[in-house]
Amino acid sequence: MIPGLIHLILGLAAAPLLLSVINRTKALFAGRVGQPWLQPYHDLAKLLRKGAVYSTTTTWVFRAGPMVSLAALLAALFLLPFGGTGAVLSFQGDLLVFVYLLGTARLALVLAAMDTGSPFEGMGASREVWVSALAEPALLLGLAAVSREVSSSSDPGVSLSYLHQQMTPAAWVNSGVVLSLVAVALGVVLLAEAARVPVDDPTTHLELTMIHEVMILDHGGPDYAFLLYAAALKLWILAALIVGVVLPSAVGVPVLGELIALAGVTLVAVVVGVVESIMARLRLMRIPQLLIGASSLAALAFVLERQGGGLLR
């Protein structure tokens, strides 16, 4: 319980720092210095001090969007194990709740974007839903593959915390192939869900090519701060999820597990930065191929395990 709470606070505090890690990695590749490490926090503080302006065509749906979105992600953070110990909350089948909490956050955002009546935001909302509909099978199949891999029939039930605690170095020795396939699939899901290159470009300023950014054009002040913070939190959640179910951080030594998990999350951010530096954005019509490819990898991982513990024997 206590370590779970510490991890919760750590996630809440350190999430914007991941954006800095990505930014610094990109700056390193481009030969620049990069923005200060604490810049995302300054941005958030600045936005929170401002007042919000609401268009008269919008309704309560628009105002509720950022709050519901952030609340759903906070709830997802409660289910997320970290550093070898369980999450604050864990129960049988909480992986599905986790996936649908991410879906709720997205739904609130999409509805708020549609509520403005702006054609650009509607387009962004449509693309966001399209991309995440393709990414969801990969996420669910990946989690299902890991569940089948580490659990046996005598187990009481599978939760994210349970999966995390089974992820010992021995699990990698037994089923490294499955876990690496799942890691790649979940990595692609992270790039798609967190709206990073090659699916979406967070730095673009042309409405026609944006996906996530165009949906939040009409939000300002504290609402925008909520959305920025929610985006950072989502990145942290997905990175911690990959680290949690794939990286063997359940080593049994208290502080070591946390250090491994932190290093893993940072590594994920660095990889995102590297991908963003060396790759161009994909053509919109290529995105389904990438995501279906990720789903196929996850399905392959699932089928390999279905072989009756073939890889474990």
Partner: protein, 217 residues
């Protein structure tokens, strides 16, 4: 040892999925070469026991040379001399092909699941038969749905890789000479198909097999 074998078999699945999910001939040829290498490694693990080690090494060496280097080189040589710059217009597109590949994978694992098909000797890994079935079915799928001669040759080689895997799994005692003979057969088949691609390309300025229907009159 089993881990390396299973890694190679998963590599075979991944390269087949890459061929299904891509319409570019560069990807197809490269994936074919990598797959040939992975398939070539398999005899080392399947035939290694009871004094058959020399045979396994000889077979692996010949397989890798043929499948990973000679076939891709022959096809590449045939392609260099053909006008081939157009996009493929397949019967089934890239994403549906990939999804079909996953369906075929599930089917193959269901048919070849442990205790369902019993090989004469126990296999070192329960993955061998499902992967062999998947490779055969996927090769057949590629032959049926692609309309460029090169893709069909690649499909044929994938199918042949599957047959080779089944042969290794079921007939572990078959003499070296027979294995060599089948490798030689495929080598000549690829040679002939390379020449055929070259002539089709010369005659029709394209290697789409749909064009062959203009041969009628």
């Amino acid at each position: 040892m089993t881990h390396v074998l299973e890694g190679a078999l998963v590599g075979v699945i991944l390269t087949t999925l890459a061929m299904l999910g891509s319409m570019r001939w560069q990807v197809g040829l490269r994936a074919m070469a990598v797959q040939g290498f992975m398939i070539g490694l398999v005899p080392l693990f399947l035939l290694g026991e009871d004094g058959g080690f020399t045979r396994a090494v000889v077979l692996a060496a010949f397989s890798i040379t043929a499948k990973a280097f000679v076939y891709p080189w022959l096809l590449l040589r045939a392609l260099r001399q053909t006008p081939l710059r157009e996009e493929e217009t397949p019967l089934i597109g890239a994403s549906p092909s990939l999804l079909s590949g996953v369906a075929i994978l599930a089917l193959a694992f269901w048919i070849g699941r442990a205790g369902h098909l019993e090989p004469p000797q126990p296999l070192p890994s329960p993955l061998v038969l499902p992967v062999a079935l998947f490779t055969m079915l996927a090769g057949l799928f590629i032959i049926c749905t692609r309309n460029r001669a090169l893709s069909q040759v690649v499909g044929y080689l994938v199918l042949e890789n599957g047959v080779y895997l089944v042969g290794l799994a079921i007939a572990q005692e078959s003499p070296l000479l027979i294995e060599m003979g089948s490798l030689l057969d495929v080598l000549f088949a690829v040679l002939v198909m390379g020449v055929a691609i070259f002539h089709i390309g010369r005659t029709f300025d394209s290697i789409e097999v749909d064009q062959l229907s203009t041969l009628k009159d």
